[in-house]
């Protein structure tokens, strides 16, 4: 492990769940040691961050790190570096690795490798069913005992209602959360993009909004029936958001996330036949984008999650039906979210930090208020930075960003993970 840095971050605006103030922040031995104005620097490193925002480090509920199994796409090391560059101090690693994160051995491998890399807190999720095959439950209690809090078959929805009901009942008593990839598979066979005018015109098989909405509805009702919490992954349609809004009004234990690409890109991008725009769930219509944005702004959708899904060029340089779905997201999430959401910094940062930290069950170390004694997991943001996405400059092993050449506002200047500077001046330190 690298040494702790002792530092004073001088001149920034501090924004956390409790509010916003201008203050200097001293970090020593991995924790926040002092907060105030005109702090004496002493032996600590003086870091001028005037004009910047200091926020609790971001938490991504939805990261595909591809290790074990697909090192040509991403590794825990390259993915952790991408996360740190995006301001993330914790990521929930999706279980669709090879082998699947459905047993203690694989989950512990991922946690251990994350600790060795040491660039962010890698929190493996577990699959709901063995091998994500949708038939037999994974040992939730055993996995919870080694730190797994979120279970999902992400990439696939749990199709069997009876099985999902039992999974929720069983998970509820353990205090873990089930997260659903909402997709009724019989409605999306062969689908490449959103079903609508654009897919009709392009002659590509469509993925109807209904395939998501039916499962959103089903899982809200199963949560009502069982009393267990359910987290809805990467919501993409306006009606999904409406259903979650109604469920929350009723006080049901439903949380939800949305991705940066579902608030910024619509289905017409596929008219270029560029496989970088193939993603699951697919890019939707402008009306859906507006619905998802409204859900994020009013808090119906709790969190911005990246669904960072690396794929190497050899996989994406294939016909649209064969190319795997997915886009990079970690390094562009803040810029895309800031550029597309009309809300306060505090609300935006809540969607990227403290609200997902609570859903992931890691709010003991992440998304914390920036006060003395708290762990130093911090993102330092240059809110006015104007930058253009250059795929060759990304830290991810893959290059499948849909934002090539897109101009974004706001960028991470420094990331502090457990008291260590892992990103300095927009560059990874290791």
């Amino acid at each position: 492990m690298m040494q702790h840095h002792n530092m004073v971050l001088v001149g920034a605006t501090v924004i956390d769940e409790t509010g916003e103030r201008t203050a200097d922040v001293r970090v020593r031995e991995g924790t926040i040691a002092e907060i105030g104005s005109d702090l004496s620097v002493g032996d600590d490193e003086h870091i001028d961050v005037s004009g910047c925002i200091i926020a609790p480090g971001f938490v991504d509920l939805h990261t595909h790190l591809r290790e074990p199994g697909m090192p040509e796409a991403e590794t825990i090391e390259t993915g952790s570096r991408a996360a740190a560059l995006g301001g993330y101090t914790a990521v929930v690693a999706m279980p669709n690795t090879d082998p699947t994160q459905d047993c203690v051995e694989v989950v512990e491998f991922v946690s251990k490798r994350g600790r060795e890399v040491g660039l962010c807190d890698v929190r493996p999720s577990g699959s709901i069913t063995i091998g994500r095959a949708g038939t037999q439950l994974t040992p939730f209690a055993e996995l919870a005992a080694v730190g797994v809090h979120m279970f999902t078959d992400d990439g696939l929805g749990v199709q069997d209602e009876g099985l999902m009901r039992r999974a929720l009942e069983y998970a509820g008593e353990l205090g873990v959360v089930l997260a659903q990839h909402c997709e009724v598979a019989s409605l999306t066979e062969g689908a490449v993009m959103h079903e609508g005018e654009c897919c009709s015109h392009l002659g590509l098989p469509g993925w109807p909004a209904l395939a998501e909405e039916l499962m959103v509805h089903r899982d809200i009702e199963l949560s009502r029936l069982t009393g267990s919490p359910v987290h809805l992954l990467h919501l993409s349609t306006a009606r999904s958001v409406e259903m979650v809004r109604a469920a929350k009004t009723e006080g049901l234990a439903v949380t939800a996330e949305a991705t940066p690409h579902h608030i910024s890109l619509n289905d017409e991008r596929l008219a270029s036949f560029d496989t970088r725009f193939k993603v699951n769930p697919p890019l939707r219509t402008m009306a859906d984008i507006e619905g998802v944005k409204a859900g994020l702004i009013d808090g119906t959708i709790d969190a911005i999650a990246t669904d960072h899904a690396p794929h190497p060029p050899v996989a994406k340089d294939r016909p649209l039906d064969e190319a795997p779905p997915g886009m990079l997201g970690l390094e562009t999430a803040l810029g895309v979210a800031r550029s597309h959401l009309d809300c306060s910094w505090q609300h935006l940062l809540g969607a990227m930090s403290w609200r997902p930290a609570k859903i992931a069950g890691i709010d003991d170390r992440h998304g914390r208020p920036i006060v003395v004694g708290e762990p130093a997991n911090l993102a330092v943001i240059d809110p006015d930075s104007q930058w253009e996405v250059d795929p060759s400059a990304l830290a991810s092993r893959s290059r499948n960003t849909p934002f090539i050449g897109v101009g974004l506002t706001a960028r991470i200047r420094h990331t502090v993970f457990e008291g260590r500077i892992v990103v300095r001046g927009g560059k990874a330190t290791a």
Binding site: E197, H201, G203, L204, F273, R318, P319, D321
Partner: protein, 307 residues
């Protein structure tokens, strides 16, 4: 920017009209005792066919040869080409041999656009997925123009396209070119065989339109659709959407009966079109050579097409 010919929409009205005029010129070349001209001497046309299509491939091949181009053909099922070599590898390898135009056929929409990103050569779309088949559209429009003795203004012309619109690149491209030229198009199909969303007029009642329209364009109904729950069975499909004797008798005498081939006799075609004077099916095949010559000449031609 390299000029391609990938869809009617991309080409636009002006270019399409020019290509139709050029097709007429090429059709005249084809009627000469020696139909071969030196226009593309020294140019290389690579037919890249990832989907079985003997007719279209032979049509392109002959079109290129009549223009004196060198041709090479890679005809593989897309499943076998991917053993270790990506589509991109294949294109880059062939490109390194020196290709001026790739003629691309693939079962997936969009592949001609992807190919164009991997080679500086021109790309002609010979059919991609359910998306586009622009040379078919060109030969269809030219056939109508020729048979009706009209120029590039199709206003007032009413066309019914009948059958599996949803999965048909021919339906998409031919509808586009006809609308571009001013014709009125109606799609005739059950809802399951229509695109999920479209602004083209539709009906599921063939009998309502068969005696009214100027052109009846029958699409090939693939047998595998029958088993996929899109229509209950072939018998019911034929009953509702095939050209049977009764409907053939209802065709106007000056109407045209078109089909892109190959026909599924006993499915969408219950009569022998050879016995119907309205049929243009063999004209379409002949005109296909001229239309493809026009496209290749437009992209590559510098020399003359004199005898």
């Amino acid at each position: 920017m390299t000029l391609h010919f990938r869809s009617i929409e991309e080409a636009g009205a002006e270019r399409i009209c020019r290509l139709l005029d050029l097709t007429e010129h090429m059709a005249a070349v084809g009627r000469r005792p020696n139909p071969k001209v030196p226009a593309l001497r020294g140019k290389t046309v690579c037919n890249l066919f990832f989907e079985d299509s003997t007719r279209t491939r032979m049509s392109f091949d002959l079109a290129a040869k009549r223009l004196s181009a060198d041709t090479m053909t890679l005809a593989v099922s897309s499943s076998s080409v991917n053993k270790g070599e990506s589509l991109r590898d294949t294109v880059e390898t062939l490109d390194a041999m020196g290709v001026d135009v790739f003629v691309v056929r693939h079962r997936t929409s969009g592949v001609p656009w992807q190919v164009a990103g991997w080679t500086p050569a021109a790309v002609v779309n010979a059919g991609d997925g359910w998306h586009a088949h622009p040379t078919q559209a060109l030969l269809d429009a030219y056939t109508i123009r020729q048979r009706r003795g009209i120029a590039n203004d199709f206003s007032g012309l009413r066309v019914a396209v009948v059958g599996d619109i949803r999965h048909s690149r021919v339906a998409r491209s031919t509808t586009e070119i006809l609308q571009l030229l001013g014709a009125e198009v109606v799609h005739v199909a059950p809802r399951t065989l229509l695109p999920p969303a479209s602004d083209v007029a539709t009906t599921s009642n063939l009998d309502d339109v068969v005696s009214e329209v100027d052109v009846v364009y029958m699409l090939r109904m693939q047998r595998e659709r029958m088993g996929a729950g899109l229509v209950p069975d072939g018998g019911e499909y034929s009953h509702r959407f095939a050209l049977d004797e009764r409907r053939a008798a209802a065709l106007r005498s000056d109407a045209l009966l078109m089909h892109p081939g190959p026909m599924n006799r006993g499915v969408e075609m219950m009569v022998d079109p050879a016995e119907l004077p309205q049929s243009t099916i063999l004209d379409q095949v002949t005109n296909g050579i001229a239309a493809r010559m026009a496209v290749l000449f437009e992209l590559l031609g510098s020399g003359g097409i004199e005898e």
